[in-house]
């Protein structure tokens, strides 16, 4: 079974802090990590390989420093790592990014399954996974929380819905995006770390994946950022301190205004 896992290197948004005075982002010293949701996709790929045989390939589009994300994927047990890296990719929106990743995946040859995290923690769009599926004309299931069965080239999975879940069946090749309910990602092994250090990454440029220059980068992106600003500040309200009893009385008075009684 040939599995491809799409990953993205992101700034660790949980460690991004706001400067209390200027209310702008302090990005200094914010580490780069593999998008947390992609860790579940890597883990699920490794588990499928362990059960059904085959190979797992991690692929990313990103600047040169995204190499470290691929090496981390190798340390977890991924067999091959592919870096789509070209200055021409800069400024790609979700449409251009899904086009580039799809072109890169096509170049890798036959595959059975593509796994993605449900969304990236920096952009939070959840658009690239289904975008790749459409670019490659694949059936898809997004927000998968469990793979129930893989038999005779058909997958049965559970997808999360607002009020519960659906059980969906689909043939391979296919694309799934996974949620954090699906598994508990492993930690890298020492052997894996050693292998990651030495591993040769395969780097491919826009020309090497045969990307149409008009469909990549800012030029190939229908959407672009016009402006970026700090979220509007909700006016600071009243703060009460004091004895519990008094605080409760005030609280009840406020809540009573809703005529809840």
């Amino acid at each position: 079974m040939n599995i491809i896992v799409c990953i993205k290197q992101v700034p660790d948004t949980t460690s991004v802090k706001l400067d209390p005075e200027t209310r702008t982002l302090i990005r200094e010293g914010v580490p780069s990590i593999i998008n947390p949701f992609d860790m579940y996709a890597i883990e699920e790929g490794l588990r499928l390989k362990e059960k059904h045989g085959g190979a797992v390939t991690a692929i990313t589009m990103g600047p040169p420093q995204a190499d470290s994300a691929l090496r981390e994927a190798i340390s977890l047990g991924v067999d091959e790592a592919v870096h789509l890296c070209d200055a021409a990719f800069k400024g790609s929106d979700t449409l251009a990014t899904s086009y580039i990743l799809a072109a890169g995946i096509r170049k890798l040859g036959a595959f059975d399954l593509i796994l993605c995290g449900k969304q990236a923690s920096d952009g939070d769009t959840a658009q690239v996974g289904p975008g790749i599926a459409m670019q490659l004309d694949l059936p898809q299931v997004v927000f998968v929380r469990k793979i129930l069965e893989l038999k005779d080239g058909r997958l049965t999975v559970e997808r999360m819905m607002e009020e519960g879940y659906d059980v969906v069946e689909l043939p391979l090749p296919a694309l799934l995006t996974v949620t954090k309910e699906i598994n508990e990602p492993r930690l890298p092994s020492l052997k894996g770390k050693m292998r990651a250090k030495k591993a040769a990454l395969r780097t491919m440029s826009a020309a090497e994946i045969g990307a149409d220059p008009a469909r990549i980068g800012l030029e190939g992106s229908p959407t672009w950022v016009e402006k970026v600003f700090t979220p509007p500040h909700r006016g600071t309200g009243t703060v009460w301190k004091g004895e519990a009893e008094e605080l409760v009385a005030r609280l009840v008075a406020e809540i009573e205004k809703f005529k809840l009684g």
Partner: protein, 402 residues
């Protein structure tokens, strides 16, 4: 061709952009900012510059042939489950109506399902002028491929200028496929949608970087301009049952119903509990609850108030409550009349999911907790003392009142 321009007359070399850049792509040389190869054109520095010396430039390519001029109208992708239109659709019609009026065009809705014609009338009551209904037994449940094909087909035929859909489980699976099929832009999770006065483009504002910054996105050369909006972000209009509108039933193309994936069954898990996205009052607990055993305090207060229970990401990650309770960037967006945050510090990821609540009451022992910045009423104190008393008092008053 696109690049980041440093306006030399304006740049003083203050270095504010250096800290704003997540990619170490800027340096100061001879009191001027210089951009290196690591720049990804993310635009984060543009906002940080106090002198407006950084500008993202994009060489304007010619507008795609004629598509800009012959696109007209606003289209809402309605969502149904088990044959019932979901309330997010009414919210989309609310914002859609305003955009239609601002562009001087009509508002249409697309409804895909099985036996859903009676539901189409509700979409008209909430603001649609025309409703395109696609019905078939094969469309009873959401199917990524079939729904995407049908939607792409009607968009091609109707040429709306703007398409908006819910950022729901279904919307997030469906709309990216349609955008790729149409080769147009799509902006996820918009919190603001406005027509720009001069250009007439749709300004789509959304949170980025975990809600730390807001970005306004434009799609200037392609139509339709597509956007998704989360449930409870926009407000629905008051329904008017006497509103006139047209229901247009379109038979789906046979080929559009042939799909590879199929739903074997659909299971509801949350039946019988209050759905937090719909609740008028939410009582939420965070890390300050210190353990799953203390979440009963939250549950009891919620019960006394007739409220839903919510939680911050830390409480969910710690395994105290299931993910379906999570409020925030990676959980649900809520907009209740009253939001009670107990032991929640107020990480930005949480705030973006609840800060449009009408009234926010925060209880936290740390007076510097960021939650107090958004709270209408902040209570600095020990929640283990306050919550049980509050619950008892509410219960007592309820008894007296009844």
């Amino acid at each position: 061709m696109a690049w980041l321009e440093v306006v030399e007359e304006k740049c003083v070399g203050c270095g504010a952009c250096l800290t704003a850049c997540p990619y170490e792509a800027l340096a100061i040389k001879d009191t001027l900012a210089v951009v290196n190869d690591l720049c990804t054109l993310c635009g984060a520095c543009v906002e940080s510059c106090p002198y407006e010396a950084l500008v993202l430039r994009k060489e304007g390519a010619a507008a795609a042939g004629g598509t800009l001029s012959d696109s007209r109208g606003v289209m809402v992708v309605a969502e149904q489950k088990r044959g019932v239109v979901q309330s997010v659709s009414f919210e989309l019609l609310g914002v859609g109506r305003r955009l239609a009026e601002d562009t001087g065009a009509g508002l249409s809705a697309v409804l895909i399902g099985h036996d859903v014609v009676p539901q189409a009338k509700r979409l008209i009551a909430y603001g649609a002028d025309r409703v395109f209904v696609f019905q078939s037994g094969a469309l009873e449940q959401f199917n990524d491929e079939a729904y995407a094909k049908i939607l792409a087909r009607i968009i091609r035929a109707e040429k709306p200028e703007i398409v908006i859909a819910g950022a729901t489980c279904i919307g997030r699976a469906l709309i990216p496929r349609v955008a790729v099929e149409l080769g147009t832009g799509l902006t996820a999770d918009c919190t603001g949608l406005e027509i720009q006065e001069e250009t007439r483009h749709l300004a789509q504002t959304r949170p980025a970087f975990g809600g730390n910054i807001m970005a306004t996105i434009l799609c200037t050369r392609h139509r339709p301009q597509m956007a998704t909006v989360r449930h409870k972000v926009m407000r629905a209009l008051v329904p008017d049952e006497s509103r006139a509108g047209e229901v247009i039933e379109v038979p789906p193309a046979e080929g559009d119903l042939v799909t590879r994936a199929r739903v074997l069954k659909s299971v509801e898990e949350t039946a019988g509990t209050v759905n937090i996205a719909e609740a008028d009052i939410i009582v939420s607990g965070g890390r300050g609850m210190r353990g799953s055993e203390h979440f009963s305090l939250i549950a009891e207060l919620a019960k006394a108030l007739g409220a839903a229970v919510g939680a911050s990401r830390s409480a969910v990650d710690a395994g105290w409550v299931p993910y379906s309770y999570q409020v925030g960037q990676t959980g649900k967006t809520v907009q209740p009349k009253l939001y009670l945050a107990c032991g929640i510090s107020g990480a930005i990821q949480h705030l973006v999911g609840m800060q449009s609540s009408d009234i926010i009451i925060a209880i936290n022992k740390d007076p510097d907790a960021p939650i107090f910045k958004v709270a209408t009423y902040g209570i600095v104190g020990d929640l283990f003392e306050i919550i049980p008393r509050l619950t008892r008092e509410i219960q007592r008053r309820r008894k007296v009142g009844s």
